[in-house]
Symmetry: C2
Subunit: 150 residues, 2 copies
DNA sequence: GATGAAACTAGGTTGTG
DNA sequence: CACAACCTAGTTTCATC
């Protein structure tokens, strides 16, 4: 994990289908050298994989919301995870500090779809209360800048 | 944008470096046919591109927070966007309904780094008040399921 | 208009120094 | 890590339905 690895990761984040030769040209390495590093990064788990970036609107997932979920009683993160995993509308979920126990990021096709997703979320065992915040517009969405401070 | 396009998108979301032949094998098409469809999806904007999925911990970005931002006065989404864009720790930002004006997703290297990022966020013009929620653990993070209801 | 097969080109992969 | 050879995949063209 040296500076060149960070550059390679940057290239792949920018375009996961970039050729090794192209990346090598950017970072000053030969194509095979880049491949070996990428293989190592995949093997070590630094790179988890490669995915396509899709326009949610085009797929008919134009409605988003963040939901603070309050659980009743003692619930483990693992239990929360397994209870949320079956809900297709849940694109992300986090346990958090503060008043709520978890924040759930929902993506739905419409307000109506969002409502039914919320109903199913509230029907999940141990869910006590939810506070929904509907997304009006996405201002910014980007991968974390590689090699920040710290 | 028929059912096969959705299948192709699913394949690419699962693995952006999958070969056209492999995708074709899954969706029941030949490699050239898949390529033509992918080109069209890229051209039409349904597919925005391809990116690498990186482990934030491994890159030293292990601390996350969601911040509700309250703005003073009349601020346009475009103004919010351009004021947040320079902050490297901002990985996502949304205008939202409800009490807050925006939700900002921050990723930092440490609690200390998060603190400095919050200071810079609060120093942004027109930012009135912020309410931070620190992420304890990531339960789930996944792309939206293609072809939902709606 | 879109697909499938084949030919050609480019990139991925492995071995050697 | 670079170089070189080999092999696989991407790309284009053309014929077909």
């Amino acid at each position: 994990m040296d500076a060149i690895d960070h550059q390679i990761i940057s290239c792949l984040v920018a375009d996961a289908r970039a050729s090794y030769a192209e990346i090598g040209n950017t970072v000053g390495l030969s194509a095979p050298a880049v491949k070996r590093r990428v293989d190592k990064l995949l093997d070590s788990g630094v790179l988890r994989g490669f995915t396509a970036v899709v326009d949610p609107e085009a797929l008919g997932w134009g409605t988003e919301a963040f939901v603070e979920v309050h659980f009743g009683g003692n619930v483990t993160p693992a239990e929360i995870r397994s209870s949320l995993e079956p809900l297709a509308e849940v694109v992300a979920a986090y346990t958090v500090s503060g008043a709520a126990d978890a924040i759930v990021h929902l993506r739905a096709a419409s307000i109506h779809h969002l409502e039914t997703a919320l109903e199913r979320l509230r029907a999940v065992d141990m869910v006590d209360r939810t506070v929904s915040t509907v997304v009006l517009s996405t201002l910014l969405e980007r991968p974390p800048a590689p090699g920040g401070e710290g």
